[in-house]
C-alpha cells in the first residue's frame, strides 16, 4: 500500500525507448505527483479505514469514504478522530474544552462524554478522507 520496493506509481511513465533527437526538456524532468506523498506523512503509523454512515457528512466524509488515519498524531481541538468505544470504532469530531467530548456534525445532542466512557481508546487522527463520486 505504501511506498516500498514493490510500489507501482500509477502516474509514472513507462520507460519508453527513444531514438532521434533528445527532448529539450530532458534537463527539467521532475517526478510526477505522488498521491502517497501528498496524503501520507508517516507511512508506518498510517492506516486506512472505510467509513460507513452519514453522521460526518458536514465534515465532508460521505458514506463509504476511505479515511486516512495517522496514529502518531496527538489530537487537537476540533480534529476528526477514530476511537474505539465499547469495542466499536467510531469516527467523530473531538472537542477538548472543559469537557472532552466526541460529536457528530449532524445533531448536537449526540455528544459522547469521553471521561464517562469506560472503554474509550483513541486510535488516531483522521488526516484526510477520500470520497469517490
Amino acid at each position: 500500500m505504501f511506498p516500498n520496493k514493490d510500489y507501482k506509481d500509477p502516474f509514472s511513465h513507462k520507460k519508453l525507448k527513444h531514438s532521434g533527437f533528445p527532448s529539450p526538456a530532458n534537463d527539467y524532468i521532475e517526478n510526477p505527483i505522488n498521491m502517497n506523498d501528498l496524503l501520507i506523512k508517516r507511512a508506518s503509523s498510517t492506516f486506512l479505514m472505510r467509513f460507513r454512515g452519514n453522521e460526518m457528512i458536514l465534515s465532508g466524509i460521505k458514506n463509504n469514504a476511505i479515511l486516512i488515519i495517522d496514529r502518531s498524531l496527538k489530537p487537537s481541538n476540533g480534529n476528526i478522530v477514530v476511537a474505539s468505544i465499547n469495542g466499536e470504532f467510531l469516527c467523530r469530531k473531538i472537542l477538548l474544552g472543559s469537557k472532552k467530548v466526541l460529536v457528530t456534525d449532524c445533531s448536537n445532542n449526540k455528544l459522547l462524554d469521553i471521561d464517562k466512557i469506560i472503554n474509550f481508546e483513541l486510535l488516531g487522527v483522521v488526516t484526510s478522507s477520500i470520497n469517490t463520486y
Partner: protein, 420 residues
C-alpha cells in the same frame, strides 16, 4: 550496549489491533493448516493453552470458555512487522532484524550519557501508540545478555516490560537467577552436559574460562560464555550464514490415501524448495522426501517414511528435483495408510559457481536449464500468473486450510477495517 525489542505474543497482538471488541478476550493463532497453536494472547496463556499444542486437543474446551481463534494471517503480520521495524530504525539506524517480531538495536552509536531508561520507555510507548503492538525491551552490554534481559522483562510483570542491565554488580546478581537452559542457543542436550559438570546457572557459565569451553565444547558455546562475561562478539554477520538445508513441508487439510495426490503435494513442495534454493544461489546434491501419518491421532495406523537420493551433479533445476522427489515417493509409498504430512528437504549444498565440472557435463544443457529456471522464477515473481511444472496439481485437497483467517486489513483495499 545492545537492545533487544521483542513484540509480545506478536500474532495474537496483531489480531487485536483492529478488533477492539476482543481487547481482553483470549486469542490463539493456529499454524498454516490450523494444525496447532503458534501464538497465544496473555489471556489464552492464563487458560493453560501451550505453544504448539495440537488444536483439536484443546478446541472444544477453549471455545466453550469463550476463547477466540484465528488461522495465521501472514500477509497482515508481515505488514505490521515492517511497520514496527521502520519505527525502530528511525529510533536507532543500527538495527538487526532477527525475526518477524524481534530486532536488535546497536546502541553503541548513541552518545555516552543517554538515559537508557527513558529511551526504552519511549520506544515501547511509540510502538504501542503508533502501531498498536506491545513490546518488551532488554538492554545489556551484549546480545546474549540483552536476550536474557528481554526474556525476564517479558515474563516478570514487576519489570513493566523493560529490563536494563548495565552495572556489573546487577548483571552478576541477575545471572545467578537464570538457569542455563534459558540462555540463547543452549538446548536440552547441552544443558544436561553442563549440569553434569556442575554448571547450573548463567552465572556459573560466565565464570568458566572461555578458552576451556572452546576446547571441550565448541566455538558457539565459547562465544556465549564470552558474551555472558560482557564481551560483545556476536555481530550482524552471524545471523547471515548461508543456509545449509532447505525444507518445505505442510500438513494436509485432511488426511490423504491416494498416491497421485501425494505426488502433487511432493511436486509442489519440491518446486517451492527449488525456488528457495535458487534464491540462496545454491545447488544441492541431496534430495530427501518424506510422508507421514498424523502422529497425534492414535486411532490411525502410524507410518513415517523417508528416503534420500544423491545426485551425481549438484542442481537447482526444478525439473530434476521434482523428478527425483517423485522417484523417492515411488519407493516409500505404501498403500492403506492415512497420510497427514509430506515434505521435501534439499541439502548438501555447493555454491553455484564453486563446484567442479566433470568431463561429461553437458554445459550447454545446463546453461539452457538455468535460463529456463530464471524465467520461471521471474514470471512467478510478477504474480500475474503462476507457471509450474506438470504435476504440481491445482486440486485443493491438500492445500493450506487457514479457515478462520482475519482480514488483510492493511494490504488489500477491499479488506480494510470499517468505522461508523
Amino acid at each position: 550496549m545492545f537492545a533487544l525489542i521483542d513484540c509480545n505474543s506478536f500474532y495474537a497482538s496483531c489480531e487485536k489491533i483492529f478488533r477492539p471488541d476482543l481487547k481482553h478476550r483470549p486469542i490463539v493463532v493456529l499454524s498454516n493448516n490450523d494444525g496447532c497453536v503458534i501464538a497465544r494472547s496473555p489471556e489464552a496463556k492464563k487458560m493453560g493453552i501451550s505453544m504448539t499444542q495440537p488444536w483439536y486437543q484443546v478446541k472444544d474446551q477453549y471455545l466453550s470458555k469463550g476463547g477466540v481463534v484465528f488461522s495465521s494471517n501472514y500477509e497482515f503480520y508481515a505488514d505490521i512487522s515492517n511497520r514496527v521495524m521502520n519505527v525502530l530504525s528511525d529510533l536507532c539506524p543500527e538495527i538487526d532484524i532477527y525475526s518477524i517480531d524481534e530486532a536488535f538495536l546497536d546502541l553503541r552509536t548513541f552518545r555516552k550519557n543517554i538515559d537508557l531508561v527513558n529511551f526504552a520507555y519511549d520506544c515501547k510507548k511509540r510502538i504501542k501508540d503508533w502501531i498498536g503492538v506491545p513490546v518488551s525491551i532488554g538492554i545489556a552490554p551484549t546480545k546474549t545478555l540483552a536476550k536474557l534481559a528481554n526474556k525476564v522483562a517479558k515474563d516478570d510483570p514487576r519489570f513493566d516490560g523493560v529490563v536494563i542491565l548495565s552495572e556489573p554488580r546487577v548483571i552478576k546478581h541477575f545471572l545467578k537467577s537464570i538457569p542455563i537452559e534459558k540462555i540463547w542457543g543452549i538446548g536440552r542436550k547441552l544443558t544436561a552436559k553442563l549440569e553434569n559438570i556442575d554448571i547450573k546457572t548463567a552465572y556459573d557459565l560466565s565464570q568458566v574460562d572461555s578458552r576451556l569451553i572452546g576446547d571441550n565444547f565448541n566455538v558457539v558455546l565459547e562465544r556465549t560464555v564470552r558474551e555472558l562475561k560482557g564481551q560483545s562478539c556476536i555481530t550482524l554477520h552471524d545471523f547471515m550464514e548461508p543456509k545449509k538445508q532447505i525444507m518445505v513441508s505442510r500438513s494436509f487439510g485432511k488426511s490423504i490415501r491416494s498416491k497421485s495426490i501425494l505426488s502433487e503435494a511432493i511436486s509442489f513442495h519440491a518446486s517451492r524448495a527449488a525456488e528457495k534454493l535458487r534464491y540462496e544461489k545454491q545447488k544441492c546434491r541431496l534430495i530427501t522426501a518424506f510422508i507421514r501419518s498424523n502422529r497425534f491421532n492414535t486411532r490411525v495406523r502410524q507410518i513415517y517414511a523417508a528416503k534420500s537420493f544423491e545426485l551425481v551433479h549438484p542442481t537447482d533445476d526444478t525439473r530434476i528435483i521434482i523428478k527425483n522427489a517423485n522417484r523417492i515417493l515411488d519407493q516409500i509409498f505404501a498403500d492403506g495408510y492415512q497420510y497427514a504430512k509430506a515434505g521435501v528437504l534439499l541439502s548438501d549444498f555447493t555454491n553455484r559457481y564453486g563446484y567442479q565440472m566433470s568431463l561429461f557435463d553437458k554445459k550447454r544443457d545446463e546453461k539452457m536449464a538455468s535460463k529456463l529456471m530464471q524465467t520461471v522464477d521471474y514470471i512467478n515473481l510478477m504474480e500475474i500468473a503462476k507457471i509450474g511444472f506438470g504435476n504440481q496439481g491445482y486440486r485443493n485437497t491438500w492445500r493450506m486450510k487457514r479457515e478462520i483467517k482475519s482480514k488483510r486489513y492493511t494490504t488489500k483495499i477491499e479488506e480494510i477495517p470499517t468505522t461508523k
